[in-house]
Amino acid sequence: MIDILYFAWVRERVGLPRERVETSAATVADLVEELKAREERYEAAFADLRALRVALDQELSEFTAPLAGVREVAFFPPMTGG
């Protein structure tokens, strides 16, 4: 089981701020493919990975990163703080 968090317009497109999923995906990219296969709203949220960022256990990471041992995955657009 893994916690998935969504922020900003990713959250709006997916329609929820977080969910817990059962997955055997090896990498972040694999997890994205699983999600996209589930429903159209995921397809909309993950249409362009270049417009997205991912954090694994609250550290910025890459879509190629392995998911082994990870408890929390967060997807969001590029940050706009400051």
Binding site: L60, P78, M79, G82
Partner: protein, 156 residues
């Protein structure tokens, strides 16, 4: 070093007055204040979303890096989230160092990182609807300046 992520307003003047006081080796204090600007003239509010937990962690990491790299005597970051009106203060950064170049560089470094690496997202809400603020290429580009340790200040 202090990091605060909060919905409540903060008092820029009071923070400036408190910051860097009494440091024996402090010759230079730089502060930055970010204010909500209404460029379109039609914004009712700016909504700032963040990633609780990661936000504090990411900012603390950035501040610790700045403290070490510029030998700062002190550093402060305050960043608000939630709904803000035009003219309200969004965030502030303060740095205290022996010399002016280090204080300026560290403050700019913190700002550049907060812009593109701290998990905040801004949305402008007006009568016409709501829009997520897009990240700017130049904000991403600003980080290049800090990636090369050779660019580090000589602390003059």
């Amino acid at each position: 070093m202090r990091v605060r992520v909060q919905a409540e307003p903060f008092d820029h003047g009071a923070e400036c007055a408190r910051f860097g006081q009494g440091g024996r080796d402090v010759g230079a204090v730089v502060t930055f204040l970010g204010v909500v600007r209404d460029d379109s003239g039609a914004m009712e509010r700016m909504e700032i979303e963040h990633y609780p937990g990661m936000t504090e962690r990411a900012i603390s990491g950035i501040v610790a890096e700045a403290m070490a790299r510029w030998s700062l005597a002190d550093a402060l970051v305050i960043h608000r989230h939630g709904a803000l009106k035009p003219g309200e203060s969004i965030m502030m950064v303060a740095t205290a160092a022996r010399h002016r170049v280090a204080a300026f560089e560290a403050a700019e470094f913190l700002m550049d990182y907060l812009k593109s690496r701290a998990p905040f997202w801004k949305k402008e809400v007006g009568a016409g609807g709501a829009d997520w603020v897009a990240a700017k290429d130049e904000d991403e580009g600003a980080l290049v300046r800090w990636s090369d340790p050779l660019l580090k200040s000589n602390d003059v």
